[in-house]
Amino acid sequence: MRRLIAVSALAVSAVLLAGCAQAPTPTATTDATAPDYCARMVTNSGGLDDRSFNQSSWEGLQEAATKYNIDTEAIVSTSETDLAPNVSQAVATGCQFVLTVGFELADATLAEATANPDVHFAIVDEVVDAPNVKPIVFDTAQAAFLAGYLAAGVSKTGIVATFGGGNQPPVTLFMDGFVDGVAMYNDKHKVAVQVLGWNKDTQDGSFTGDFEDVNKGKALAQSFIDLGADIILPVAGQVGQGAAAAAIETPGVSIIWVDNDGYVTLPAQFQSVVLTSVLKNTSAAVVEAIGADLDGNFDNAPFVGTLENGGVEIADFHDQSALVSVELVGEIEQIRSAIIAGIITVTGPSSPQ
């Protein structure tokens, strides 16, 4: 009996604490008098503090909450099996708007959208074709193209590198654009800057296999550095921090962060090695989608974030701006206008349609 009590006490506390971690952060609304419009968000297994799209979607939702004075709340998934129940739970709250984040949620979103035609859905990073689902996707290859051009221009060793957390379309889209950007630089300047870690033709390259173990990211980045790379683009969530840690140890090595401005979001000691970041402006797109829905202008046409509409961008060079020559900045500006004007098209197998 004692054993039973002991083990159940331990198990209960484990479940309780695990439950604590999943608990949705309390609502961000200032208005407690239950406004008639509310929005719910379901994360993928990355959680709310992933320094990536869950976090920026949640920031967008919070911004919308203050801007439009609506009620918002997030439901955090911790594993693949949580996804569908969490979407159902979000729908069951009776809210008019449900935002799901991540391609893993596509099936669950489609199922709930079909079952509840009156509820409006939006999904980040994946295209779901239903009359009441608005896909919010980003053509990150456009911004990564600029980052690749920049990296090729800044690299002193003539070798740059990229790696991903897993071989998935939202990840490899960055890598495609990066490789193309370097190729463009090589064309224009008649040089041969080499990209390690991604082969656009075979659609295969270097991956850490997960988005958690920073130590793996560090070892992989170190291997790139050993082979001569001096600029690394990690597309692997927090695993990218390992690349930043490897860069700090070797003078002259920089990284390019993704999703948000690494200079701001990474711990302070990494600021000095962030060359730039490939930004994905999820929060603004979320605010816009909710705003449109409030005005009664909801539609299911995909929002594709591009350089043109500010959905994707490259960040400021911060501490490393001295490395970027004025001519290079000028060339990047030209390419940006050329991409916006459609003179240069950045495409790949993972590009949003």
Partner: protein, 430 residues
């Protein structure tokens, strides 16, 4: 009377060990399969690589003594290696046929030679940075080695330690927080040890006092620590970043030793955590096999009744061993934050504790062998990194399996039968 004479007759005949008559063909079969594999890879597939060179870079730019790069002709090296491997496989078969024990040197030579052949084949037309490959191995293995040492200590005393993952994670979390809050990374190390010890004390208390199933407590503890650290991360660390920016230990070069070619950069240009690891390996080995305390620990793990009979307090000995194991594992957790990256992240140990547990078993519950098993895993992981970068025709998803496949083959082929301490996992009830 007659029965008595009958029964005493066989006893007087000399006892012949039947085991000596059984030939184990495992090693020749393993050697043979690897020899055939190398014939196929290096000779059949390697024909297309004629004229290519495989370059091994043996020095880093900052080394004092610069070794020249070694460029081997890919195909010729492959043929040479394959032929020698076939000969060695034949030799091992002959030795087994003659009932002679296969010397361990032969196994080591075989493995090394296969590795050289494999690297030469995989790196045709490109350069392999050998020091970098090995430095990365230490980086990836360090937390595994700490975890495995903690596991060995605990399991030798008869307590199954599934909670290594939790101990590593608790160590990583508390070292990051304490080192950031106090500004002193050494206090962070201390905190990591305390955290690891606390996790293992919970394990010990439930297992020794309440006799709960050891595997279940371990699994539940892992979930508990993951939940607790993730919760504290999002509620405490994420909002206040200054609690999660510890100073990373700098690399310290050991004078003279760090200038030895290859070995120097790999072993003697490390952080203090890795130097402590060397000491820990030696201490655990010495403690377990050369001290009275170690004899007692092993006694309670093998035969607690016998140990109790001679006056050893079984549960107290176990409690101390499990706690010490937690101290070592927790210290290893600090490697993630203070040794490698300088920030705690959710679930950042990502299953390394379970690989460490596997290293304990592959290493036959022996500290040195478990260390080697952990190093093998780290090496295979980093080899996969390097081969992926220099361009391998194998899809990356398959490459990511390499460390696991290598571990399974190494265990099945080269390591003998793994026998756990006899009382491992069994509570002692007087």
């Amino acid at each position: 009377m007659s029965t008595l004479t009958q029964s005493s007759a066989p006893a007087s005949t000399p006892i012949v060990k039947p085991a000596a008559q059984i030939r184990s063909w495992k090693i020749p079969i393993t050697f043979g399969s690897f020899a055939v594999l190398s014939l196929f890879l290096f000779v059949v597939l390697g024909r297309g690589l004629r004229g290519e060179l495989s370059t091994f870079r043996l020095s880093e730019g900052r080394d004092l003594i610069q070794l020249p790069e070694v460029a081997l002709p890919t195909f010729a090296t492959g043929v040479f290696v394959a032929v020698v491997l076939v000969l060695m496989a034949a030799a091992s078969a002959w030795l087994v046929y003659r009932h002679t024990k296969i010397p361990i040197v032969l196994t080591i030579l075989f493995a090394l030679l296969f590795l050289v052949g494999f690297l030469a084949w995989a790196a045709s037309g490109s350069t392999i940075p050998v020091p970098g490959l090995l430095i990365g191995t230490v980086t990836l293995s360090a937390p595994l080695i700490f975890g495995a040492l903690g596991g060995v200590l605990s399991e030798r005393a008869g307590v199954v330690n599934v909670a290594i993952e939790g101990q590593l994670l608790a160590g990583a979390f508390s070292s990051a927080v304490v080192a950031s809050a106090t500004g002193n990374p050494y206090l962070g190390l201390l905190a990591a040890m305390v955290a690891g010890a606390l996790v293992s004390m919970v394990l010990a208390a439930f297992v020794l006092k309440y006799l709960v199933d050891q595997v279940i407590v371990g699994v539940v503890l892992n979930v508990l620590v993951i939940g607790l650290t993730s919760f504290l991360y999002s509620q405490v660390l994420a909002p206040s970043a200054n609690l999660n920016s510890p100073d990373v230990f700098p690399r310290l070069n050991v004078p003279f030793l760090s200038e030895i070619p290859i070995i120097g950069p790999v072993l003697f240009r490390q952080t203090i955590i890795v130097y402590v690891m060397y000491v820990a390996i030696a201490l655990v080995y010495f403690g377990l096999f050369r001290t009275k305390w170690g004899l007692r620990v092993r006694a309670v793990g093998e035969h607690p009744q016998a140990a109790d009979t001679v006056g050893i307090n079984v549960n107290r000995t176990r409690f101390i061993a499990v706690t010490l194991g937690g101290v070592i594992s927790g210290f290893g957790g600090a490697y993630f934050t203070l040794g490698a990256v300088g920030a705690f992240n959710k679930e950042m140990t990502n299953g390394m504790g379970f690989i460490a547990l596997a290293a304990v078993i592959f290493g036959q519950w022996h500290p040195i062998k478990a260390t080697l098993a952990a190093l093998l895993f780290g090496f295979a992981t980093n080899l996969q990194n390097v081969l992926g970068i220099i361009g391998s025709p194998v899809p990356s998803e398959f490459m990511l399996m390499l460390p696991y496949v290598v571990t399974i083959f190494a265990v099945a082929g080269f390591v003998g039968r793994s026998r756990a301490p006899a009382a491992d996992g069994k509570p002692y009830i007087k």
